[in-house]
Symmetry: C2
Subunit: 365 residues, 2 copies
């Protein structure tokens, strides 16, 4: 098994959609399985907002990956058949160049001097990586949430580069409500006294603001049903109300814990940049209409939505599927019934697996 | 017209549900219309989280009240027929005793020495006020949102005190999701560096934290439909994306504006206490079951929910209505079709008026 963690350095200037550019981009990526003789069995997995290249266990890292149940030998994304690649996105903080990395020109962290990046920029960087691996065409590109936006951008921008595309719990743009929650989270970060225009240190950083952003995000990832089933109004102590200003409900301490855990793992500036990239993504705006956006697509498409996902709704997936059908694209769609909300993409492995595995392995085309 | 702003001082100790007590409570209230000879035409209106006694224009204050379209001569709550009373709740910051008021024992603001208060405590204070006005029975008690919780508490605790009760866009307890958003807002306030354990000043106070709490609240007051219809993904400038970390979407600047406006009008400590009171309210927990809670009710009841309200859902109103029906209470219910979400209670005056006006004016009983 060729399963390792890699760092790939791009030694050329990459033009960004904001008009700026970046050189010396480092891309952290991990691979799983073996690339076949004609380099035709590669699958690129694109991660969500706070994900990383570590999609599953491998020789470099035997911790569970973020999609452990989906990726591995015999699993839905079968690494005994396919060569799986997952790279950390541009702007993140899990090994790929982002605002927390040192700017080689100044020897200081980029912080807010980092240029604004977009989903399209992330994809362009991935394209350089895939080219460097001498892969002429990916067997598939698969991504949930923000990863699904990358998949869409790939399919539109590089139509010949993927035979199959899986867009899971994603959309062609954030809804106004999702924009609203995003901006409140970013506001919490930048208004934290320790943010200091992004010039914080590893020990004094905007923990509270980032924690609040994460907690807001977390609530939007859960459905009303799942948060009720999981916690309801259960108290932490069975001694009744404490009549103080502390967190007393289990759902409250759970959220605090999620926030506390997250701030130790993620960079506040990266959160700002990636949240902004999510907000900017808008295929209708970029191409004039979804129809124009989707016209160039050649890949066989699978859209999957989650019935209780209110952040990336079923309706948003259906809107994309309708356009694909009108364009006579090879498109399949399933709205997976689940109470878990957006988070289901990390939970309902069996339901997604039974859709994704045959889609990836079918050879009728 | 006897329409004025009053301050009523309670010169006795009021026991609170937390086990503590308060003396020298000041209650700010406003009245509209004229109390009839047998004191039988009074309607008490209970306000929501951030409301005040100023429900409509009156001689003391000709600014529009928070329910201006609903309250006045000839309106749904007709002040030419009824004597309307609206008092600011205990713990608030609009004239009634709360954490921002001076503790007469110390001559300092209460701040966090203010005892934890509940919806029941608010109602007990209102009861003293109503008794002082020599009103033996209210014609009706009407309240939206947190006001509806007060109405329920009144109907259960003082069954003979109201002939009619209107519970609008409310519930018998907050959902787990609503608890979650509440706790994130409170966390934003207390983690603001300027909070200083509640000992902030009028010029240096936790503006950012309170603003974030308000913005979170505001998004939960809007439905996904209304926020999309109102803003969608419209940009503030028609020059396209700025590619910076600023707020660029209209929905973002709108929320910031809502936050900024709110922090000038509301006290952060009051927000904490009232948000806590909302969280504590739980009739199932208090009485063992909704059935036991509702058994003593004598009033004629009207429940109104809003079809797109995801904070106080139609399902939560229906659950209360079902119990009332099983108990053979005199109960009416309407789920008002509206896209405005929870905020509809401040917008859909005609729809509510045509339900509330005949309910208040019917004399069949």
């Amino acid at each position: 098994m060729n399963s390792t963690y890699h760092k790939f350095k791009i030694n050329k200037d990459i033009a960004l959609e904001c008009g700026s550019s970046l050189d010396e981009i480092i891309v952290a990526y991990e691979t799983y399985g073996t690339l076949n003789a004609d380099n035709s069995n590669a699958i690129l997995i694109c991660h969500a907002l706070t994900g990383s290249s570590h999609v599953a266990q491998n020789d470099s890292n035997n911790n569970d990956g973020w999609w452990e149940a989906m990726v591995g030998p015999g699993k839905a994304i079968d690494t005994s058949q396919f060569f799986v690649i997952c790279s950390n996105v541009l702007g993140s903080c899990k090994g790929t160049t982002g605002p927390s990395q040192i700017n080689p020109k100044t020897n200081e962290p980029y912080a807010l001097t980092f240029p604004i990046i977009t989903i399209g920029d992330m994809v362009n960087v991935q394209k350089v990586l895939i080219d460097s691996l001498e892969i002429k065409q990916l067997h598939a590109i698969v991504g949930p949430s923000m990863g699904g936006m990358q998949v869409l951008q790939w399919a539109i921008r590089y139509p010949a580069m993927a035979k199959k595309c899986v867009v899971l719990a994603s959309s062609s743009s954030l809804s106004a409500q999702a924009l609203a929650f995003g901006t409140i989270g970013r506001n919490a970060i930048v208004s934290d006294k320790l943010f200091q225009d992004g010039q914080y240190t590893a020990t004094r950083f905007p923990k509270n603001g980032l924690g609040i952003a994460r907690m807001i995000g977390h609530v939007t990832y859960l459905s009303k049903e799942s948060i009720t089933q999981k916690f309801g109004r259960k108290l932490q102590a069975d001694t009744g109300y404490g009549y103080n200003l502390d967190q007393e409900f289990q759902v409250e301490s759970y959220l605090m814990h999620q926030g506390d855990k997250f701030v130790e793992q993620f960079d506040a500036n990266s959160y700002l940049y990636l949240s902004k990239a999510l907000g900017y993504f808008d295929l209708e705006k970029e191409y004039g209409s979804l129809k124009k956006a989707f016209e160039p697509i050649q890949a066989q498409l699978l859209f999957i939505s989650i019935s209780s996902d209110w952040l990336y709704s079923t309706e948003q997936s259906k809107a994309m599927v309708r356009v694909c059908m009108n364009l006579n694209k090879d498109v399949s769609f399933c709205d997976v019934q689940s109470d878990y909300g957006h988070d289901a993409f990390l939970i309902e492995h069996e339901k997604f697996g039974e859709l994704i595995k045959p889609f990836l392995e079918s050879k009728y085309d």
